[in-house]
């Protein structure tokens, strides 16, 4: 489904990786490993179309993602280092507005159900400013649940999550794979997914 062909990434004068080839199919997860500074985030940003590779192509169902443009964006959900959570808005406003902006508006009931899934029912009317780092991460995770995307691109998704939330995000990923989705996850922790279709990609 997603295919990277000879992807090379150069940051400034440093070459992070060269001629990287891999493919993800439906129901598959790629665990992206590598020490700090090995280019995990750069690779993920190339894959979701935010950055352009110095050389090589990223193909989605055989077509270059550059030429697909917004069509590709609709099938991808990206969760980066930053949560994209607005401090001034309450948790539920954050969820409803971000999904409205992304083109799939939720009514209040739906939004409450999604927040319940990530365990933020009690915090739904608190401004995001007062949420803890983990709670903000949980709030960011709601974007994955509402986006209806085939491909999840997750950068250090487990950071600042407690045991319960890590379990949750594992459940979400397993569920997503079972429904025919795919995911590329940069991580330092073991994901320990029960699904067998986990591949590992090591950057050095």
């Amino acid at each position: 489904m997603l295919e990277a062909i000879n992807v090379t990434c150069v940051r400034g004068t440093r070459r992070l990786f060269k001629d990287l080839n891999f493919a993800v199919a439906r129901g598959e997860l790629i665990e992206l490993r590598g020490p700090n500074g090995s280019g995990k985030t750069s690779l993920l940003r190339i894959l979701c179309g935010l950055a352009t590779p110095a050389a090589g192509d990223v193909l989605w169902d055989g077509t270059n993602i550059r030429s697909l443009g917004e069509e590709y964006s609709a099938s991808v959900a990206y969760l980066g280092h930053q949560n994209a959570v607005k401090d001034e808005l309450t948790a539920i406003e954050n969820l409803r507005i971000s999904s409205g902006v992304a083109g799939h508006a939720l009514d209040k009931g739906e939004a409450q159900r999604v927040l319940a899934q990530v365990g933020l029912t009690q915090q739904q009317n608190l401004p995001a400013r007062v949420l803890s780092a983990g709670q903000r991460r949980r709030l960011a995770m709601t974007r994955l649940l509402t986006a209806n995307a085939t491909l999840w691109i997750l950068d250090e998704v487990l950071t600042s999550l407690d045991q319960a939330a890590m379990g949750l995000s594992r459940d979400f990923m397993t569920e997503h794979l079972k429904n025919g989705g795919a995911a590329i996850v940069a991580t330092h922790q073991d994901l320990n997914l029960t699904a067998s279709s986990v591949k590992r990609l090591q950057l050095s």
């Binding site: 935010l50 917004e70 069509e71 991808v76 994209a84 001034e88 507005i97 902006v101 992304a102």
Partner: protein
Amino acid sequence: MFSWLVWRDLILAWRRRADVLATVFFFIIVTSLFPLGIGPERETLKTIAPGVVWVAALLASMLSLGRIFGNDYQDGTLEQLVLTPQPTYLVVLAKVLAHWIISELPLVVIAPVLGLQFGLSENSLVIVIASLLLGTPVLSVIGSIGAALTLGLRAANVLVALLVLPLYIPVLIFGSGAVQASLTGASPQAWLLLLAATLVVSLVFAPWATSAALKISVE
């Protein structure tokens, strides 16, 4: 998508009212300094009024440019906006519209009151409003190019001024020209039409430039 984004920016601006008020007070103070500094000579004040009001409006709108994309850039929302399944062009238009409502519309509303300090007639005050209504959206949309280009840079504010102020010159000339014409009893129509043409051209082309700049900035 469009209305959600505008709505979001309006809520955020309401919860950060102090920022918006700062722009308006800047506009009021700058225009008020001129009558104080130059003296109460009626004719002199009338002659400088169009220029002063328009220059102050330019500077005030410059102050708010950093906010168009700055906060979204810092908390990662901008990446998500670029990745929405809609063209970035629409995202830019929505942000510009919200910026205009938040930072420029208050200037248009307050300008007639400030015009009174300069002894402008009723007829000229109407032209002040009309020219600002046509001109300030141009300031927002052209300013968005500068704002997008300087995202994440250290001396962003100064750089925006250097990039954007030269591009504001046509708006300044047409806008103050319209008010000037109404003062001398001539018809301001030609100036207003020029402003309208500038508005149309910049609304069509500037968002493209801004989207390209945004994509470079988030990369």
